[in-house]
Symmetry: D2
Subunit: 469 residues, 4 copies
């Protein structure tokens, strides 16, 4: 669900050290943007002084701040060199690990063993972790590290040698962004415009096309909640958009229709989660999405006691990819005989596979009612099959959104025909959408079944549909 934010575009002048902008006694660290070979000794010396707490803990923080500024002044090439330095020169000391291991083996008595274990554990933490931690003393230090990891993540595929640095950074951020430290904030049209602008940037599921589109999503029958970290309060971490409706929504274009009149929120019986977007790509893998949904369910139930149903209206982003694969390999039995016959006739194709391929290649097919009617039984059945039984190479549900909600304890409730007729909706999932249902008293059991036996919980209707009955 994540999306790359435009990180670090806040320029250098926005980062000031913790002393409020004053020149620090430790002096600035000036390096070339590409961090040339001749700059490395300076950087090393600063890092070493930092790690040695030279001049005391306060001076060490100031040094870290200066290093942070230096990092920000680097270009892409310079940052890569910086990360490499961390990877190569500030990794764990393998020999010390060996020594500590031997010391533990040799230790006698509980107290000695405990001390030896502490030493061993300490040797297993790379020194760079200590440096990275100190960056939090920068003016916006937590955000700095989140953005640093976002940058690092973009380098990993080409530079796998940086993975250990990423692992350390992720560990650090996972501790800091533990859900217990996060605040849930409601976002309305009275929120700061600068914050709302970020929603427009970060929305990853159904693009926010304009401020009036955004305003409509924050209308009286809508709710929007986000998680926020106290040390970066103007940055949403993740946000969810909710529509208060009557009956389970089956079409996202209707939900987003700016001309539709708002309904009375106190009278609504259903809350539809129609979009969840992560905002900080630097927090990839630091999960709090499931907490957000459940806290929103709690909050809404308290405030709007009329709400009986909590469900999503979700895309099926992997459906077409899966289906195209099936067609490509000519899976036998992909279509029933009658489906194949009907579709071949409509599309004037040689067989069902060819007909289906031809149909899907033209995103305008839903406009022709005949065609649409003919395609519906097959695509709905295949959609239900895709969600409820298809798995990837690691045995997990094929669909990434399904994985997220099933792991949260939701169940697949209903497939919606032409629920998303947008270009991306047609392209990714042939217009299908799905409702995942969050039923409070079944969440634990569903989760355990999913996690234990890998069971995919779906409503009877979806299961029937998948069987073609």
């Amino acid at each position: 669900l994540a999306r790359q934010p435009n990180f670090l575009d806040r320029a250098l002048n926005q980062v000031r050290n913790w002393r409020g902008g004053d020149p620090s006694p430790v002096g600035p660290v000036t390096v070339k943007p590409e961090l040339s070979e001749s700059d490395l000794p300076t950087i090393r010396q600063q890092i070493d002084a930092c790690l040695a707490d030279q001049g005391g803990a306060v001076s060490a923080r100031l040094r870290a701040a200066e290093l942070g500024r230096a990092y920000l002044s680097l270009n892409a090439r310079g940052r890569l060199r910086f990360f490499r330095l961390l990877a190569e020169e500030y990794d764990v000391d393998v020999e010390e690990i060996d020594r500590a291991s031997s010391a533990l083996a040799a230790a006698e008595g509980e107290q000695d063993r405990r001390t030896a274990r502490e030493r061993l554990k300490h040797s297993l933490t790379a020194p760079r972790v200590y440096l990275l931690t100190q960056f939090n003393s920068l003016e916006r230090g937590v955000k700095f590290l989140v953005d640093m990891r976002a940058e690092l993540l973009g380098l990993l595929s080409e530079h796998p040698e940086l993975r250990p640095v990423d692992a350390d950074l992720k560990d650090l951020l996972r501790g800091w962004f533990d859900v217990g430290f996060l605040d849930m904030a409601q976002i309305t049209f009275n929120s700061p415009a600068s914050l709302l602008e970020k929603l427009i940037d970060y929305e990853a599921v159904h693009e926010i096309r304009s401020w009036s589109d955004l305003k409509n999503r924050l209308d009286s029958d809508r709710r929007c909640f986000s998680f926020v970290h106290p040390n970066m309060p103007d940055e949403p971490l993740i946000f969810v958009e909710v529509a208060l409706v009557n009956g389970m929504a089956d079409n996202v274009q209707s939900l987003l229709d700016e001309d539709a009149p708002p309904i009375d929120p106190d009278a609504a019986d259903t809350a539809i989660f129609y979009s969840i977007s992560n905002c900080q790509s630097g927090l990839a893998g630091v999960g709090f999405g499931d907490f957000l949904i459940k806290r929103v369910v709690d909050r809404l139930s308290q405030r709007l006691p009329n709400l009986k149903t909590f469900a999503t209206l979700s895309p099926m982003p992997g459906f077409r990819r899966w289906l195209d694969g099936r067609i490509e390999e000519g899976e036998e039995g992909l279509l029933t005989e009658s489906e194949a016959r009907l579709l071949s006739a409509m599309m004037r194709a040689d067989d069902g596979h060819a007909a289906l391929k031809a149909l899907l290649s033209d995103p305008d097919w839903p406009r022709e009612a005949d065609l649409s009617d003919a395609a519906r039984p097959a695509l709905m059945r295949l959609g239900a099959r895709y969600l409820s039984s298809e798995r990837d190479g690691r045995g997990r549900p094929f669909d990434p959104v399904a994985r997220f909600h099933l792991n949260n304890g939701a169940r697949i409730e209903r497939i919606n025909w032409l629920g998303d007729r947008s270009a991306s909706g047609m392209h990714q999932s042939a217009g299908l959408m799905v409702n995942y249902l969050y039923k409070l008293d079944q969440i634990e059991r569903n989760h355990e079944m999913f996690r234990g036996e890998g069971a995919i919980v779906a409503s009877a209707a979806v299961r029937r549909m998948a069987r073609g009955s």
Copy 2:
């Protein structure tokens, strides 16, 4: 400097789980106050379910919250049992450490070794750490853990087997209370009364006797700053009281005189730090005091450019204890001949040691001018000697307050005769007080000299006085 707060006096009903008070789906954990043997299986089962993320991460948090409530319902005996459970049953698995060590030794290739190191590191972390972390999801979870550690600290001397639990808790809190996460807040008489009441409770150096005493300490020529953690914003962690004066203050009773008229803060040339108190005994050893002083120096220099000198007016809490020891063991040369002669005559004592002992045994001696004049040269010299050269068994400066400021990079600037005539001032340090001077451009050097060679930096005047010249 720390003092035991009246922790956990906020009763059970103030702690609600993160869902806002609703009954949680996981059900309450009900145990007897003393946590009888028959309750242990329930507790174990909850902890195990928690550690296994049973029902998903959200359910695990709810379980942790229920366990937290159960803990709060325990009496002293019950809590001891609870801590013992954590110490005995949720410690590291020694066999897994062995296996992981062997696996690391056997690993080949960088990736395998890295994985093996991760496993080893993980095995070195006690499972209870995971549980303790989850308590932060309680309504006031961070404070909960701080108070839990305060309680635990009180048990350590009698129950050393709990030390490993404390070590884990301290590690956890050290990460959460890293100075980069703390806000510095100014406290004034416009601050909430409930917060000011805490200052009265926590002040550990010069007792706040009444609300009018407190108001005087927050007058227009005073400043008070504290560190605050975003997850417990109404709880000061540490606070410092500052007086804006002209010239370096030499007497704390004058500073605290409620009848003294305030001076114009913009005209003051000196800021005197006359009291620093830690507020959370559960954060003992998690240091941020040095940061506070330097951030206050920064803040004040920006706001009040007239300030030229930043110094403390500090007690010498170990002086009498040290001096009494010297007298007791009859240290030769403790007094100079002339000092001994004069004092013996005044006190009608056999020798200098007896005279000094007799003098100090009556806290009212400063009232008699003759006596006071006679004692002054000896006591000032001994005070200077005590601070500038006496060390404890571990080679550190004998005086704990001196250790703190010297390690921060301050220097011993001046000894003040009868600077604190209060009962505790007379009792602890024969009325002497000391100014530690924070000179920005010498802090780093002083710190390094202290940390490196153990050098104690003192002004020429103090050094001369110690030498008796």
Copy 3:
């Protein structure tokens, strides 16, 4: 109910003009503290320039600000002179009133008449009103005028010639402090200490003896609300203290007992208003007390649906004065025969009047149970009679607190024997207290009956008691 606040003790340096402390282009107005004869031309010139909007409206405001500063620099004598200047030289222009009257009489046609009426109305407003209005541009201008009126009120009895100035000031403040502009604020122990200190200063009914007494009055089963004006947000205008109890409270010492454990506010069935204090003596006669009670009733009913009864526990401050008068003039039938007989015997007095007089002269009589039992029937009957039928020279209920609550639509519900045994309670009302009951559906009718026929509404029990039956 009002009490003189310690007004204007915030010194001159706290009042800065609206430009944020900068010297204003119009230049300072410097006068002697006693405003000598030779200063008057300067003052006159400034006022005239102000009234003429010389230099434009902005300059006029700056001049008003300078005049305000000059006023603050005056001593008591100087302020008297200043008020006299306003009274004598900036009153209405009687000749212009005559001319405007004649013009109105001569006007023909609706438009001309309307213009003439405007002119006449304008001539009836004293020019000083325009000046007073402009003082609101001072940094704390609204508070400035409130305090100015407090000062002026203190002068009226000796200087009745200043009454017209007071009338103008009161009109102005009545408009500004219209209840529609006021906010109702809840006060808790989390409110700023500087605000709570004002409660201690202003409490006029049952003195707040200490911060712990105050804290007890803000405990979980207490509520405190005040009205606040947006332009002087840190100054309560009036506040009411409420106790949440079970059953109608009959004793104020019990309510104020710091050792009594708090009860569960959600379980309480009764809200007792036990103290209402005005805070700004400069707002005397600008009534909003009745609004406060009813808004508090509304707020509490919404938040605590269990509350069924809203009543006061009030003093009867005029009872003893009235009763002493009756005894003094030897009113026949003041006591019934049996009451007189019993009391005479107990007090060894010649007759009932003498016995009653003797009894009341010793405030310790309640300690003797026999005496107390003997006095009870007579005093309770007389208290009931006093409240329910005694009137002052203008035909109003004799008791000022009764007038306030009866006019608000409350009814006299119950007299409480020894409800206030404090020195002032014994002195003013022989220990009696009274509950006024606010019953929402009877308030309008009670008010109309009181205002129309002057009817005093009392419960059947009180009426019976007054009749002695």
Copy 4:
């Protein structure tokens, strides 16, 4: 400068009475949208009960609130009837005025005369004023009355009989919106989006075309300030947009260019006020614009000491209307001979008047450099003449914007050729713009000269240009 806001579009459900939405004891006032004849008695009865304080002051407020709701439920026709009712039946009582006048004439003694004057003054205030005042107890009562006046203003030209109601309402609002009660607020892109949306709606000078246009106007080298009333804090009353630049800006399109990089605000030497817009049409005639400019000048000088020049970049909205009139009536000497010759040749016209008329009729003329060069001397001279010497029928400067700034004490500093090439700029002022200069030490004198002798202060350069020299 004012513009009609989209008032009262916040529907009925947003207005709740002061009791927090509960049904009030006085019962709802239900009338038909058009306020039919049969509804009038109900309305009259409520108003009368209100004016009589029936049931006490609190009930009167509730009645006013119910009347306010009823008003909001009316359509345009109903509101007209409601205003007529106020105009006809709740006007001053002419006979009472006569009686009070006679009583004053007959009064003897100072006290009696004072009482008689009070009575007369009271009789000159229409009873409806009392009702209107009480509307402030509505949830958003101050805004309610502002919007009510906006509605009323729209009716005055067709219904002059309502003017007295407007006069009363304006008096009331003038008192409430006295500048001493207003807060100055800075608006940034961190302000609530709902507030920023209002800027887009209200901007009356240079239309805000989009959110990115708005964001550019709130960039780091821009400032925006507004006045706000404490009882309607989310509604700007007036706002000014300021650009921080180097040298006096001469072109508004450059200022609004979204692609221009921001400059360093601390380095800017000039603040340009390029747009002032009133937001509440219901406050027409309640002036505070001059206060805003001067407070902004103060604020900016304090924060940005580098600023040396404060000036506007203003339109000349009446220039073309005036010039077209001159051409139409064929004013002799409108153009100099050489100007006429040159223009006639360029435009192939018979004479200068015809040439000028032809030129101005095509808004695209600036595109042709020859034409533009030929027109420049004549148009600049005429613009300078227009501003510095042309007056309207009442002797005031012809240009309304000039009137505003000259009255504030600014002077005409410079005419800018093609300073506004937008459609409206060409249409209203042939592309000319003007800088008015605010020089702190000349403001008072300029204002007095303008108000006294009607003198228009202009720079030597403008005066020379007007003379054609």
